[in-house]
């Protein structure tokens, strides 16, 4: 924080001042988040050492308990990087849990058939939203808001009651563990890490990723450069819809039930994780790895509150809000400097 407060007085980027170089570095927000994560982890270690906070499994649990959030946040990273916003994330997750539970329990379909169907529905929803946003030039905010209503409504149309999943193959999949020697990871956590790796490759090493950055940086310039802007925009929302559906599947595995109220407001967590991870909300700048740290920081807040015991769960929301605020101000300081 002390570095960022210097922003206005920091010399021009031409000078070789170290502070200025640091501030000009696009990786700074990610580094700040990573440092914050480490600091919180160390603080947790020193405070709850006697309660087993140092166990490797506590660290791995961060991935197990937040795998679905990581996947959703990766999808949101694509959208935000392109300068848009997706409010339908939480609803799509909720819908996927409902859809999966309904097909598996009530219709008796095997889970392996249901998974591709759920993913296809999520991707289709994202595609339609992207299509409307691009072709009719309606603000993403309002289109995805309609998506939020639609998918939450569809949840309730399927069933008003929650559906517990008792299917044997689902529970065996949910309980499957990959041993890492010092601890274990669940299927959900592994899928989340794979998604992260794929997203990292796509965003940083493929033409599609460059286009996402270009559109988020300046849509007009990207258009004038002749980039296939429409396709990219639609693709970004399709990716987000797909990721939300995948997150919904992981959430279903994690919680083993479908409920019309599952994941209400999770789009806020996903957006918060992306912002805390250092992606500029105006688009065009950020790293998907930052999103990982954003999710880990949010997860760590939750575990610290659990370890503290006396703190109530609503402190999670307050802490998230405070962090969100701090990181938005850091971003603001950085962009203000670039303009100057």
């Amino acid at each position: 924080m002390s570095a960022t407060t210097q922003t206005p007085t920091a010399p021009d980027s031409r000078t070789t001042s170290k502070a200025a170089q640091l501030l000009g570095d696009r990786r700074l927000p990610v580094l700040v988040t990573a440092t914050l994560f480490l600091a919180m982890y160390i603080a947790g270690l020193s405070r709850y050492q006697n309660y087993g906070f140092g166990e490797p499994q506590v660290f791995l649990n961060l991935f197990i308990d937040n795998g679905y959030l990581l996947v959703a946040a990766v999808g949101a990273t694509f959208v935000i990087m392109s300068g848009g916003i997706d409010l339908s994330v939480g609803s799509v997750i909720g819908f996927t849990t409902m859809f999966t539970a309904w097909l598996v329990e009530r219709q008796g379909l095997p889970i392996l058939v249901v998974i591709p169907m759920a993913l296809a529905v999520g991707a289709l929803g994202g595609f339609l939203m992207g299509y409307v946003i691009h072709n009719f030039e309606i603000q993403p905010f309002i289109v995805t808001l309609a998506g939020l209503f639609l998918f939450r409504g569809l949840c309730l149309v399927i069933s008003k009651e929650s559906i517990a999943i008792g299917d044997a193959s689902v529970s065996s999949m949910a309980q499957a563990q990959a041993s890492l020697g010092v601890g274990f990871l669940s299927v959900g956590a592994i899928v989340a890490l794979v998604v992260l790796a794929v997203a990292f490759y796509v965003l940083h090493y493929t033409p599609f990723g460059r286009r996402v950055y270009a559109i988020g940086g300046n849509e007009q310039s990207a258009l004038l450069m002749g980039l296939p802007q429409g396709g990219t925009k639609i693709a970004v929302y399709t990716v987000s819809g797909f990721c939300s559906a995948l997150a919904g599947l992981l959430f279903t595995l994690y919680i083993q039930s479908g409920d019309p109220l599952h994941a209400t407001g999770m789009e806020l967590d996903a957006i918060a994780a992306v912002v805390i991870g250092g992606t500029l909300l105006t688009g065009g700048s950020g790293y998907v790895l930052g999103t990982l740290f954003g999710v880990l920081v949010l997860g760590l807040i939750k575990s610290i509150i659990q370890f503290e015991g006396t703190l109530s769960s609503w402190w999670t929301k307050i802490a998230t809000g405070v962090l969100l605020c701090a990181f938005i101000l850091i971003q603001r300081a950085m962009t203000a400097r670039k303009k100057a």
């Binding site: 309002i142 209503f149 918060a272 609503w314 998230t320 938005i328």
Partner: protein, 369 residues
């Protein structure tokens, strides 16, 4: 000829389509409940579907009116739901601490405390948006996330119930045979309309929404106007919070005002205020809010399962937005534009000239200021 020109003038009016939707929605109810429009007198109070639509819709109208001004400046306020929760929580927890919950002074003080908290939230939003230059969606997201936590902190995670007669009046009481909240809403709407349309304030708000920087160069204090609208929006949300908590005599940090920000934005959009800012219509917003409440009531009365409510809402958002999109209109109604006949189009084709007529209207307004 005169009838067609009158018809055209009518359909050109910016409130025509919201009112038409409202009337159609109301008429849909009649075959299902024949006495839908009847209002009867019981115990000196008026009862009837129309009264309850206004009664249950009043918090939404309040929030949406505040939201209209924020959207008119090109912003958006996502934090209203959290402000509703905070205000209700503070007021109820203050009243529940009193020995005599019916004491007027205590109730007024409690309401004052709640509204001050709402104003503080509005100031914070305005500060972030105007002074720090943060995107409104993101700036107000902070209170949207943290605010519910704060509300639960105030109520200690419980639902505080109170038993205060004077406080009950605001959201659930009757005055002059009508629900008291209708008078509150009418007062707020009247003051807002007077302030924005009888003084230059409305023009200034539209000018800031049209182009904040140009307005500043012309000599309008853009920043101050922006902060003001966020404070006003939060204040409206605060009053709505009082109403909701008073109606149920309870403060629920989790569920009070949940999703009201989305309904409010929807009401504003249905009312014909552009999300891009630069022009607004308070009357349209009030009708938009009534449309949403009527939609909910209609879904109940015609026997459609209540859970499809959200799907209906989604359909309404999509249709309204598509109709507002110039590109969509050009693609779908493009062929009818040239012929100007519009006779066969019935309901849809007059929409095209009506909507396009409002767009050039906005441009000179911005230049005036």
């Amino acid at each position: 000829m005169t009838t067609t020109s009158r018809w055209r003038a009518l359909t050109h009016h910016h409130l025509f389509w919201p009112v038409a939707v409202l009337v159609v929605l109301l008429l849909v109810n009649v075959p299902f409940t024949p006495d839908f429009f009847s209002i009867r007198m019981t115990d000196g109070h008026l009862y009837g579907s129309l009264v309850s639509i206004v009664l249950f819709g009043s918090p939404l109208i309040l929030v949406a009116v505040g939201m209209t001004l924020v959207i008119a400046t090109g912003g958006i306020d996502l934090s209203v739901g959290a402000v509703v929760a905070i205000t209700g929580a503070l007021t109820c927890s203050y009243i529940s601490d009193q020995a005599d919950q019916n004491a007027l002074s205590a109730v007024f003080l409690a309401m004052g405390v709640g509204l001050v908290a709402a104003v503080v939230c509005g100031l914070w939003n305005g500060f972030l948006v105007a002074r720090m230059g943060i995107q409104p969606i993101i700036a107000t997201l902070i209170i949207m996330v943290a605010g519910r936590g704060v509300a639960q902190l105030i109520t200690d995670g419980k639902i505080i119930t109170i038993n205060s007669e004077p406080y009950k009046l605001i959201g659930g009481g009757y005055w002059l045979t009508l629900p008291f909240s209708i008078f509150v809403v009418a007062a707020v709407v009247a003051v807002t309309v007077a302030l924005t349309r009888r003084t230059a304030l409305g023009l200034l708000v539209e000018s800031v929404g049209g182009n904040a920087e140009a307005s500043r160069l012309v000599g309008i204090r853009s920043l101050r106007i922006k902060i003001m609208v966020y404070v006003f929006c939060a204040l409206c949300a605060g009053i709505a919070g009082l109403m909701i908590s008073s109606n149920t005599s309870a403060a629920d940090g989790n569920n009070a005002g949940l999703w009201i920000e989305l309904d409010a934005i929807l009401a504003v959009v249905i009312g014909g205020t552009s999300l891009l800012g630069g022009r607004f219509s308070i009357g349209g917003t009030v009708i938009g809010a009534l449309v949403i409440q009527t939609l909910t009531t209609t879904i109940y009365t015609i026997g459609v399962p209540t859970q499809t409510n959200l799907v209906f809402k989604a359909a309404v958002v999509i249709i309204v937005c598509l109709l507002q999109s110039p590109k969509f209109r050009a693609k779908v109604f493009g062929a009818k534009f040239g012929s100007k006949s519009g006779a066969t189009g019935g309901g849809t084709s007059p929409a095209t000239p009506a909507k396009t007529a409002t767009t050039p209207e906005a441009a000179p307004k911005m230049e005036v200021s």
